[in-house]
C-alpha cells in the first residue's frame, strides 16, 4: 500500500524534473547549435585531421566528413540529451542554488568530456561500420586507404567502447554524477528524520 506522506517529496521532484525538462526542450535547438560548437572543435583536434576527417556543423545538423575518402555521414544531433537530463536532475533537486551551480558545473564538464571522447571514437567507428556494410570487392578496394588512417586493430576496441557508451554509458554518467552529489543531501535528511523521531 502506498503511503501518501512518503509520496510528497518524490512527487515534487518528479513534477519539477518534468517542468525543467519541458522548458529545456523548448530551447533545444538553441542549445544544440551552441553546444555542438563546444564539442566538435576539440573532437576535431583529437582526430588530428587523420584521413582528412572532421565534424562539420550547419546549425544543429552535424556531419562527419572524410575528405580523402570522399565520404560524408549525417550524425544524430542528440548527443547532448544526457546533458539535458543532468540539468533537469540538478534543477529539480530541492537544494541551495550554490549547490546546483557547483554540481551542475561538474556535471556539464564531465558530460562535455565524455561527448568529446565519444565523437573521437565515432570518427573511427563510423568509417569501419560503413566499410563492413560494403560488398567484399568494394571493401577490398577501399580497405588500404581506410587502414592507412584508421588501423583495423583499433576497430574492435573502439566499436565496443562506442556501443557500450551508447547503450549504458550516457544516462549512467548523468545519473552517477547526480547520485554522488545528492546522496549527502538525502542522508542528511535521513539523519534529521532520525533526530526528529528521537525528540
Amino acid at each position: 500500500m502506498l503511503e501518501r506522506a512518503l509520496l510528497r517529496d518524490p512527487l515534487v521532484f518528479l513534477l519539477r524534473f518534468a517542468a525543467v525538462a519541458g522548458v529545456l526542450y523548448l530551447f533545444r535547438a538553441d542549445v544544440s547549435g551552441f553546444y555542438l560548437s563546444l564539442v566538435t572543435a576539440p573532437a576535431n583536434w583529437l582526430l588530428g585531421g587523420d584521413g582528412g576527417v572532421a565534424y562539420t556543423r550547419q546549425g544543429h545538423e552535424l556531419s562527419l566528413v572524410y575528405r580523402q575518402l570522399g565520404l560524408r555521414f549525417a550524425v544524430h544531433d542528440i548527443i547532448y540529451q544526457n546533458l539535458l537530463v543532468a540539468l533537469a536532475l540538478f534543477s529539480a533537486t530541492q537544494a541551495h542554488w550554490m549547490w546546483k551551480l557547483k554540481w551542475g558545473g561538474v556535471a556539464i564538464l564531465t558530460l562535455w568530456a565524455s561527448h568529446v571522447a565519444s565523437l573521437f571514437l565515432g570518427g573511427h567507428v563510423i568509417v569501419w561500420d560503413f566499410l563492413w556494410s560494403l560488398p567484399a570487392d568494394v571493401r577490398a578496394d577501399l580497405l588500404p586507404r581506410v587502414t592507412e588512417h584508421f588501423p583495423m586493430e583499433r576497430d574492435w576496441l573502439f566499436s565496443r567502447l562506442f556501443g557500450l557508451w551508447h547503450t549504458w554509458g550516457r544516462q549512467s554518467l548523468a545519473l552517477a554524477v547526480w547520485a554522488l552529489a545528492a546522496l549527502p543531501l538525502l542522508r542528511r535528511l535521513s539523519d534529521a528524520d532520525t533526530q526528529e523521531r528521537v525528540k
Binding site: L6, F13, A95, M98, W99, Q171, L175, L180, R188
Partner: protein, 174 residues
C-alpha cells in the same frame, strides 16, 4: 525538503558511487551475456502487454515477435511500424534502479522490499511507455519523434527516480 548547504564528497558518498557503478557494470555484463533471458523475462512481456492494452482501447496494433533473435519485436500501429528494442522497453531504468537500491546503505530486507516494489512498478511504467507511443502513432503521428526520443525517455528516468526516492523515504522511516 532536501538540505540547503553546499555539500562536498565524503567517503560514504564515494562508496555509494563505487557500488552503483559496480552494480551497473555487473548488471550490464549479465545483460550482454544473457540477452535471451532478458528478452523472455522482460522484453516479450512488455511488448505483449502493451499490444494487448492498445487492442483493449481499440487501437489497431499487431505484434510480430519473429525478429526476437535479432534483438527486437515489431509493433505495427496504423501505418507505423515500431521496432521495439531493449532501449524502448526502459531496461536502463530497471538496471539503474537495481544498482541504486543495492548501493544505498540499507538492510538486506529493506533492499529486497525496494526491489519487490520498484521493479514491478517500472515494468508497468514500461508497458505504459510503449502503449503511449502506440497511441501517439494512432492519434498524432507527427509527434512520434518527440515522444520516442525525448518525452518517454525522460519520463522513464523521472519515474525510476520517483520510485527510488519513495523507497528512500521508507528506509528513512524504518
Amino acid at each position: 525538503m532536501l538540505g540547503i548547504d553546499t555539500p562536498g564528497i565524503d567517503r560514504r558518498s564515494l562508496r555509494f558511487l563505487g557500488l552503483f557503478v559496480a552494480g551497473m557494470i555487473g548488471l550490464g555484463v549479465l545483460f550482454e551475456c544473457l540477452p535471451v533471458l532478458f528478452q523472455q523475462l522482460y522484453m516479450l512481456p512488455v511488448a505483449h502487454l502493451s499490444t494487448a492494452l492498445l487492442q483493449a482501447i481499440s487501437v489497431d496494433a499487431v505484434l510480430d515477435t519473429g525478429h526476437l533473435g535479432d534483438g527486437f519485436c515489431e509493433l505495427a500501429v496504423s501505418r507505423i511500424l515500431y521496432r521495439i528494442t531493449f532501449d524502448c522497453t526502459g531496461i536502463f531504468a530497471i538496471l539503474a534502479f537495481t544498482s541504486l537500491t543495492l548501493a544505498y546503505p540499507a538492510t538486506a530486507r529493506q533492499r529486497a522490499s525496494g526491489l519487490a516494489v520498484g521493479l514491478p512498478a517500472i515494468f508497468v511504467f514500461s508497458v505504459l511507455r510503449i502503449t503511449v507511443l502506440g497511441l501517439v502513432a494512432q492519434l498524432a503521428p507527427a509527434w512520434i519523434e518527440l515522444f520516442h526520443v525525448y518525452v518517454m525517455e525522460l519520463a522513464t528516468l523521472g519515474f525510476m527516480l520517483f520510485t527510488w526516492m519513495y523507497w528512500l523515504g521508507q528506509v528513512r522511516r524504518a
